[in-house]
């Protein structure tokens, strides 16, 4: 372990805090890699990042339960109150209210069945997840049902992959022993990704018929000389 990290842990900085801070650039790179090189659209960098960390705090099982419940309840509420033709912010306020209510009910059942790991989950994580509902609902309004489902599932899968990477213990040990190498590498890789002009993996699929057809002009040129 790096002496600086060791010192901070000895002074009482939680190990979790250090892992989260150093894991953040890695997760951010994974997300930008999936966008620039693979071509998964997702919701920018903030949403998958925050969901990943929420999963890290709650554990994957409860994280997924909360995530899916929140999105589902939010969507149903939106569809239900759409008829009333309300202005945007009040409409969103109602949706958030209903979602909070449902989360409250989940906690009630957690208390009833004495699931201590559930009811002791930090409420800030849940609150962040609830507020993300707005992003998903805006996507539904803009892209329509199918587009929103695709975008949401892409984000979810991306977050799960990031969760696995972040909870990989050898990686955690590495970043704690080489914090500066981690940050230096993160910046270099980000610059390389930022200059990447090649086709995205999904584009090879999207343009496959076009690429197959390119042959002709290439053959012709030498013939013309």
């Amino acid at each position: 372990m790096s002496p600086i990290i060791q010192y901070m842990i000895n002074q009482g900085v939680p190990k979790e805090t250090l892992i989260f801070l150093l894991m953040l650039p890695i997760i951010a790179i994974v997300i930008s890699f999936t966008r620039q090189v693979i071509g998964i659209k997702g919701f920018g960098i903030y949403t998958p990042l925050i969901i990943t960390f929420a999963f890290l705090v709650t554990g994957l099982k409860y994280g997924l339960i909360f995530f899916i419940t929140i999105i589902l309840v939010g969507t149903l509420t939106r569809l239900f109150i759409r008829k009333f033709r309300l202005l945007y912010l009040p409409r969103m306020a109602i949706t958030l209210t209903i979602v909070s209510l449902v989360v409250l009910i989940i906690f009630y059942f957690g208390a009833y069945s004495q699931k201590t790991d559930l009811i002791t989950i930090s409420i800030f994580v849940i609150l962040i997840m609830i507020t993300l509902v707005e992003k998903f609902l805006v996507a539904q309004i803009e892209k329509g049902g199918r587009g929103a489902i695709l975008l949401t599932s892409e984000t979810l899968i991306l977050s799960i992959i990031c969760y696995w990477i972040a909870s990989w213990s050898s990686l955690q040990i590495f970043i704690l022993s080489h914090p500066f190498v981690t940050i230096f590498l993160a910046i270099i890789i980000s610059i390389l990704l930022g200059k990447w002009t090649g086709l995205r993996l999904t584009e090879y699929f999207r343009f496959r018929e076009l690429i197959k057809n390119i042959e002709i002009p290439k053959k012709r040129r030498p013939g013309k000389i």
Partner: protein
């Protein structure tokens, strides 16, 4: 596999579009103009380019409350000022004559004043705008569909997308609204994209929902060979709009109105990449060929586009078959007795075996020396026609033949060219379909 990867270098992907073309070519000021429909219309109009007329503009809630709905005409388009990808656009075609006097949409659904109000409200709130910020709603004149496009457009107006870079039109695409796209021409909403040959303005290959197609899904009409009217003017307009707005990497949408002709609909700073699939031709390659050229005039830009990106199909065909591609009517150079050239329009007729020349013209050229006679079976019975020696150049190839001489003074063309003399040519009925009047003698 390796071949596939190498070929893929010619395709323009999202990353390269942003890093290599959008960022360096499109200044913030240019993007601000293009993203603001009302502003770009104003600027284009001031510079003498055709745009659609605005009937009314609603900027705030207060204006919406005081709006006089009965001032609106019977047919119009309602648009958000900063809309993205054709969303939030409402088109009405007529107004019912009975109370509550509602308007009618293309799918015959009724639009009341309340519906309009709530649509405008949605626009003002920014639900359709790029950044979700409050937006402006405006009512615009509706385009009248060109008769030529009627069979191809499902309840909407087809438009022509042209990508212009460095004052050169790079690639074009005719976008047709379908049943799936509910009258909108945007590809991602389900419209058909048809590639255009930049040289002639004739359509080539087509895609629908990401797949290449040859015919319209429902009516089975062929999508290849549609001749876009006023192609040259459309190209000039696209270049002119780029020079005025300084959007260096521009996707411009132009529609053709039945009365007004070509009209600029909107400017895009982030044109979609599926135009490459519609044309089955990669953008990256074309952009690289134009990069860094100094294009001083609009005419030069048009010429470069036509020379570099046009007639590829024809050239390919000509190379494979070793034959020239000609249209239904061609300008030929006929040779008189002293081998002097004279230009004349001729009709290509694959139904006739032998070429026929008008006897008056033959006399004028002094080539009316009869060398043979042959019986012809025509619609009017058997007839004996004289044959003369006749030579002409078509598409720079000399054809020496024996032709019939007949009185064609009542006909549109003095010369028809038959199969016997077409062996070194391929006839493409989509080429030169403009009916130029032949020179009368």
């Amino acid at each position: 596999m390796f071949d596939f990867l190498e070929k893929s270098h010619h395709v323009l992907g999202m990353n390269a579009r942003i890093l290599s073309y959008m960022r360096p070519s499109n200044s913030l000021r240019a993007i601000r103009i293009a993203d603001n429909k009302l502003l770009s219309k104003k600027i284009l109009k001031k510079n003498g380019l055709p745009v659609l007329q605005n009937y009314a503009i609603i900027k705030e809630m207060q204006e919406l409350k005081n709006f006089n709905w009965n001032e609106l005409p019977n047919s119009f388009t309602l648009k958000p000022n900063r809309g993205l990808g054709g969303e939030g656009i409402l088109i009405v075609y007529a107004r019912r004559k009975r109370p509550p006097y509602p308007w009618v949409k293309a799918n015959r659904k009724i639009v009341t004043i309340n519906d309009l109000k709530s649509h405008v409200l949605n626009i003002l709130e920014g639900n359709y705008s790029i950044t979700n910020l409050p937006d402006i709603a405006f009512f615009e004149e509706r385009i009248k569909l060109l008769r030529l496009f009627k069979p191809y457009a499902y309840r909407g107006i087809p438009d022509i997308r042209i990508i212009v870079y460095n004052s050169v039109p790079i690639m074009g695409e005719l976008r047709l609204p379908t049943k799936d796209s509910s009258g909108k021409a945007n590809l991602h909403l389900g419209g058909i994209g048809v590639g255009i040959d930049m040289g002639t303005g004739v359509t080539t290959t087509a895609i629908h929902k990401g797949k290449t197609i040859e015919r319209m899904p429902d009516t089975k009409l062929a999508l290849r060979g549609i001749h876009i009217p006023g192609w040259e003017e459309i190209l000039r307009m696209a270049i002119d709009a780029q020079r005025i707005t300084k959007v260096g990497f521009l996707g411009i949408d132009i529609a053709i109105d039945r009365e007004k002709g070509p009209v600029i609909l909107e400017l895009n700073t982030r044109p979609g990449l599926s135009i490459q699939i519609a044309n089955l031709s990669p953008l990256g390659d074309r952009l690289k060929r134009v990069k860094g050229l100094k294009v001083k005039t609009i005419s030069k830009g048009v010429k470069i586009a036509k020379d570099l990106f046009g007639g590829e199909i024809e050239e390919e065909l000509e190379e494979i078959s070793g034959r020239k591609v000609i249209g239904i009517n061609e300008q030929i150079e006929v040779l008189d007795i002293n081998r002097n050239k004279q230009i004349i329009m001729a009709k290509i007729d694959t139904g006739a075996y032998r070429t026929t020349i008008c006897s008056i013209l033959a006399k004028e050229l002094n080539i009316d020396e009869i060398i043979n006679q042959k019986k012809v079976r025509g619609a009017l019975g058997v007839e004996e026609r004289p044959i003369i020696n006749f030579s002409f150049y078509m598409d720079k190839r000399l054809v020496s033949t024996e032709a019939f001489m007949a009185d064609r003074s009542e006909m549109k063309y003095d010369i028809i060219i038959g199969r016997r003399d077409l062996k070194r040519f391929l006839v493409d009925p989509a080429k030169n379909v403009h009916m130029r009047r032949p020179r009368s003698i």
